[in-house]
C-alpha cells in the first residue's frame, strides 16, 4: 500500500492561513469598531513622496497628540504640535516675556480693558483672512461651558471680548489681570467661519490655522505630519515638512535619534546626556520647573520652625546639581527661578550648614518619610541621604502618581518632594497655589498659611504695575523663606537630543519648537 501523501508542510501553511483568517477577523473588528473611512481620508492626504523627505524635520516627543483641536486638550506635548498649525495673540520669548504673534501691539485703556491691534496680512490655511471676529470666536469658544474646553480656567479672568473693527479687539477682565498675556499666549486662535461651517469633529480632523505649518495627516500613535505653509505671514519655514513622532520609552527615543530616524528628541533625562555622542548632541535650555521639598507645618517634626530651617540648612543643592544633573540645573534659594516675574535678587539665603542642622535634629525623635513619585525617586533619595547625614531619620516613600496627589492634597504627607511647572513665568503660579490660604481648601499641601502673606498675594494679583508686583513678591518671598514651609531645591534644564544635521535650532524654555528658521544638511 502506498502511504497517502500527508502534506505536513502544507499543514503548517494552513495553520498560518488560518492565522491570517484571524487577522481578517481582527480587520473586521477594526472596521466595525472604528471608522476606517476617516483614517483613510486622513492618510490619503499624505502624498509625501521621497523627494520631500530631504526637507522633513522629524521631532520625537514622549507622547502622541490627544487632538488637533487646540481648544480641546490640556497637554503640553499636544500644544507643541498644534502650535505649529495655530497661533496665539501673543507668544513668549526665551526670557518668558510676551512678544507679538497674531497681535502686533497691545495697551491698556484702564485696569480692566486691553486693546489689541491685530496683524493685517494673515490668512488661514484655507485662504480665509484672519480678523478680529476669529479672536472673539476663539476666546468665546474656550469659555463656553457647552464646549467643555479643558483650557477654560486659563482665560477665566476674561469678562468680554469686543470686536472694534477688523483688526482691533477690546478684552475686558473682571479684575485687573496681570496674567492675561501669559494666558493668551497658550490659547490659539481658530477660524470662526470654518469651525462653524464644518463643526467641531471635522475641524479636529482637518484643522486649519494661521501657523507656519499646515496639517497633512495624523496617524494615531505613529506620527503627525505637517507641511510648510507657503503663504505664512513671516515667510515660509525653511524645511518642507515637520513630523512629530511619539516614542514614549526614553531609550527608544534616543535610539531613534541616534539611528537617524529623528532629528530632535525631546525630554532626555539629564543623567543620560552622556550617551548622546557622535552625530548627536545634548542641547539644554533653562527649564520652567521648580523642584522643592515640602514640609507639613501641622505635624511633628516640621510643626517646629527650627526643624524647617534645619532642613533648609541640611540640603546641599549644589551637590544635587552636580551629582544628579551633571551641572544641567540651577540651585534655587527661593521658590522661583531668575526669569520669573517675582524672582528676588539678593535674597538672604540659607547656607548649607550640616552642623547647625545636626544641632537641631539631635532633639528630634520622629523619623520622616518623604513621599514622592517614581520619576523623582533619585532626587528624593539624595535629599533623604543629606537629611540623614544631618541626623534626621529620613526615608523615601514612592507612590503611584495619583495616590501621591491624593496624599499631598489631603495633607497626609509629612514631607514630600515634587516639582511645579511655571511656564507662565509668573510667581503668582507658585504663591497663589502653594502659599495662599484659599487654596488650602482644595489642596492642603504643607498646610501653611499666613495672613500677611495672603494680603501680599492678593495685592500682587490685582495690580498691573510690574514694579509694584516685583516689590510685593519680594516681601512675600521673604516671609515664605523665613517661615520655611519649603526647601526650594533646583531648576533643571530641559535637555534635547539634537542631530548634527539640524542647523539653527534653539530650544524654548516652555518646550515649544520654533523651527521656522531650521535647516537640515
Amino acid at each position: 500500500m502506498k502511504p497517502t501523501r500527508t502534506p505536513t508542510i502544507a499543514g503548517l501553511a494552513i495553520v498560518s492561513a488560518l492565522a491570517l483568517g484571524l487577522a481578517a477577523c481582527g480587520g473586521g473588528d477594526g472596521e466595525t469598531f472604528g471608522d476606517a473611512e476617516q483614517t483613510g481620508d486622513v492618510e490619503e492626504a499624505g502624498e509625501g513622496g521621497t523627494e520631500a523627505e530631504a526637507g522633513q524635520l522629524v521631532i520625537a516627543q514622549s507622547a502622541d497628540v490627544l487632538t488637533m483641536d487646540p481648544h480641546m486638550h490640556r497637554n503640553r506635548t499636544t500644544q507643541n504640535v498644534v502650535h505649529q498649525v495655530f497661533e496665539s495673540l501673543v507668544n513668549m520669548d526665551t526670557e518668558l516675556n510676551p512678544v507679538p504673534e497674531l497681535a502686533t501691539e497691545w495697551d491698556q485703556e484702564d485696569d480692566l480693558t486691553w486693546r489689541f491691534t491685530l496683524r493685517e496680512d494673515v490668512t488661514f490655511h484655507n485662504g480665509d483672512a484672519f480678523t478680529a471676529d476669529d479672536v472673539k470666536f476663539s476666546i468665546d469658544r474656550i469659555l463656553d461651558p457647552e464646549q467643555a474646553s479643558p483650557r477654560a480656567s486659563m482665560l477665566e479672568m476674561i469678562e468680554d471680548v469686543e470686536v472694534v473693527d477688523d483688526h482691533t479687539v477690546l478684552i475686558t477682565t473682571e479684575n485687573p489681570a496681570p496674567t492675561l498675556l501669559s494666558g493668551l499666549a497658550v490659547n490659539e486662535i481658530v477660524p470662526a467661519d470654518y469651525v462653524q461651517e464644518v463643526g467641531d469633529e471635522e475641524f479636529a480632523e482637518a484643522p486649519v490655522g494661521t501657523g507656519p505649518f499646515t496639517f497633512d495627516q495624523w496617524v494615531p500613535n505613529e506620527s503627525v505630519m505637517l507641511d510648510a505653509y507657503a503663504d505664512y505671514w513671516d515667510g515660509p519655514p525653511s524645511v518642507d515638512g515637520l513630523v512629530f513622532r511619539p516614542i514614549p520609552e526614553v531609550s527608544s527615543r534616543m535610539a531613534a535619534l541616534q539611528s537617524g530616524e529623528a532629528h530632535i528628541a525631546a525630554e532626555i533625562p539629564t543623567d543620560l546626556t552622556g550617551e548622546l555622542t557622535g552625530d548627536t548632541e545634548p542641547v539644554g535650555v533653562s527649564g520652567t520647573r521648580i523642584y522643592f521639598l515640602a514640609l507639613n507645618v501641622t505635624e511633628a517634626p516640621f510643626d517646629d520652625h527650627e526643624a524647617r530651617v534645619a532642613a533648609n540648612q541640611a540640603v546641599d543643592k549644589n551637590a544635587l546639581v552636580d551629582a544628579l544633573y551633571e551641572g544641567n540645573a540651577r540651585p534655587l534659594n527661593q521658590p522661583a527661578f531668575p526669569e520669573m516675574v517675582g524672582y528676588t535678587d539678593g535674597i538672604e539665603e540659607y547656607e548649607f550648614d550640616v552642623d547647625a542642622a545636626s544641632a537641631v535634629f539631635e532633639g528630634v525623635d520622629e523619623s520622616i518619610e518623604i513621599d514622592v513619585i517614581e520619576a523623582d525617586r533619585t532626587l528624593a533619595e539624595a535629599v533623604a541621604g543629606q537629611l540623614q547625614a544631618a541626623g534626621l531619620e529620613a526615608t523615601v516613600n514612592v507612590l503611584e502618581e495619583q495616590a501621591f496627589t491624593d496624599a499631598i492634597e489631603s495633607g497626609s504627607s509629612t514631607a514630600y518632594l515634587s516639582s511645579w511647572g511655571v511656564a507662565e513665568g509668573d510667581a503668582d503660579v507658585i504663591m497663589a497655589r502653594h502659599f495662599w490660604s484659599p487654596s488650602r481648601e482644595g489642596a492642603v499641601y504643607t498646610g501653611y498659611t499666613n495672613d500677611e502673606l495672603d494680603e501680599l498675594i492678593v495685592a500682587a494679583r490685582s495690580t498691573l504695575d510690574q514694579g509694584e508686583r516685583e516689590d510685593l513678591y519680594a516681601q512675600a518671598t521673604e516671609i515664605v523663606m523665613d517661615e520655611a514651609p519649603w526647601v526650594p531645591l533646583l531648576n533643571p534644564e530641559e535637555i534635547y537630543g539634537v542631530s548634527a544635521q539640524v542647523q539653527g535650532w534653539e530650544p524654548s524654555p516652555i518646550g515649544r519648537f520654533n523651527v521656522a528658521d531650521v535647516t537640515l544638511n
Binding site: L12, E31, A36, E43, T67, S153, I247, A255, G442
Partner: protein
C-alpha cells in the same frame, strides 16, 4: 458544529460581562480620575474640577455609569475618550490591525525558527545541535522582552543600522492609504513596494522580540512531541518499509503537532499581553500602547473598551485553536465544553 458555536458565543458573552464588571470596578478603585490627571499640577480650583466632571458626566453614581456604559456598548457605542474627545470604537479600531499584525508576525517568527530547531533537536537528540537548541530556547524564554528589545535596537539599529528603532512605517514610504489597516497587506495591494519593504523592516525587531519566548516554547514542546512519536512502533514500521527519511519526518510532525498547537494557542493570548511591553519599547501604534497611555491618563472609556476587545480576541484565539486542533487530530471531537 453549529450548536457548539452557539454555545461558545453564549460563553463569550458571559466572559465579556464578567470582564466589563471587573474592569469597571478596578478602574474605579484606582485613585484619581481623568480630570485629576488632566489638571494635575495646574492652577485649577476644586470648583472648576467639579464643574468639568459634571460636563463629562463623571459625577454620576458608579452603578449608573456602568449601566449607561453597557447600554451604549450593546449598540456598539463604547463611549467617548475623555482626553481625545473622539469615539472609543474609532480609536481602538485604528489600533487593532497594528497589534494583530505584530502578533502574527511574532507567530511567523516562532514557526520559522522554532519548527526547524525542534526537528533538528529531536532527530539528533543529545547532539551538540540539540544542546545548542536547549540553550537558545532557555535564553528565549528567560529574556525579559523590554531588555531584549532594547538590546536588539542597540545592536541592529544603532550599531549597524540595519533595522529602524521604532515606528511602523518610514517616511520614505510616502502616503500609504489604509484599506484593511494591515500595512503588510495594504502596501502590496497598492503596489507600494517601498512601503512594504519599510513595513517589513519596521516589524522585524518587534516581532523577533515578541516572538522570542513563544519560539522557545514551540521548539521545546514540538521537540518532546517528536521524541515521543519517534519511539512509536509505526515509525519503525514506516522505516522498515523503506520510506524516505523526509517522509518519515512528515509523519512524525503530523502526529506531534496537536500538542504544540494547544500550547501555541494558549501562548497567543500571552502574546497579546506581551505586545503591551513590546509596543511601548518600539513605539508601535497598537492596542497595548493605547491601553498604557489610557491608564496613565485615567481615560476610562478607552481602558474599558480596549480590555473588552482584548478579551474578545483572546476568546476568539482559543476557539480557533480548538478548531485547528480538531482538524489536525481526528480523534478529538469538538464539544461545547471548555476550550480543551
Amino acid at each position: 458544529m453549529l450548536p457548539v458555536i452557539v454555545r461558545r458565543l453564549g460563553q463569550t458573552v458571559l466572559v465579556l460581562i464578567g470582564v466589563s464588571i471587573i474592569v469597571f470596578s478596578l478602574i474605579h478603585i484606582t485613585p484619581g480620575d481623568a480630570v485629576d490627571v488632566m489638571f494635575a499640577g495646574e492652577n485649577v480650583s476644586v470648583e472648576q474640577r467639579e464643574a468639568y466632571r459634571q460636563q463629562l458626566g463623571l459625577d454620576q453614581p458608579i452603578v449608573q455609569q456602568y449601566f449607561s456604559y453597557v447600554a451604549g456598548a450593546l449598540q456598539g457605542d463604547l463611549g467617548t475618550s475623555i482626553r481625545r474627545g473622539t469615539p472609543v470604537t474609532e480609536i481602538i479600531g485604528s489600533t487593532i490591525p497594528a497589534t494583530v499584525e505584530l502578533t502574527l508576525a511574532a507567530l511567523v517568527v516562532a514557526i520559522i525558527i522554532g519548527v526547524p530547531v525542534a526537528i533538528i533537536s529531536a532527530l539528533r537528540q543529545g547532539s551538540i545541535w540539540d544542546r545548542g537548541g536547549s540553550v537558545v530556547a532557555l535564553f528565549g524564554i528567560s529574556m525579559p522582552s523590554f531588555w531584549l528589545g532594547i538590546m536588539l535596537i542597540l545592536l541592529l539599529s544603532i550599531t549597524v543600522s540595519w533595522f529602524p528603532a521604532s515606528g511602523r512605517l518610514g517616511l520614505e514610504a510616502g502616503g500609504l492609504r489604509q484599506i484593511t489597516g494591515f500595512l503588510l497587506i495594504d502596501a502590496p495591494l497598492q503596489g507600494n513596494w517601498t512601503a512594504l519593504w519599510s513595513g517589513l523592516k519596521h516589524i522585524a525587531l518587534p516581532a523577533l522580540t515578541l516572538g522570542a519566548a513563544i519560539t522557545a516554547t514551540l521548539s521545546r514542546v514540538l521537540r518532546s512531541g517528536l521524541l515521543e512519536v519517534k519511539r512509536q512502533d509505526y515509525i519503525d514500521a514506516l522505516r522498515a518499509r523503506g520510506l524516505h527519511r523526509p517522509r518519515v519526518i512528515r509523519h512524525m510532525i503530523r502526529n506531534a503537532l496537536p500538542a504544540a498547537v494547544i500550547v501555541m494557542g494558549v501562548r497567543i493570548g500571552s502574546l497579546l499581553g506581551g505586545a503591551i511591553v513590546v509596543e511601548v519599547v518600539f513605539g508601535w501604534p497598537g492596542l497595548g500602547r493605547l491601553v498604557v497611555d489610557a491608564i496613565q491618563n485615567r481615560d476610562f472609556p478607552i481602558v474599558q473598551g480596549a480590555v473588552l476587545v482584548m478579551a474578545l480576541l483572546f476568546v476568539a484565539v482559543n476557539f480557533l485553536t480548538d478548531i485547528i486542533q480538531a482538524w489536525l487530530d481526528p480523534r478529538i471531537k469538538l464539544s461545547g465544553g471548555a476550550s480543551r
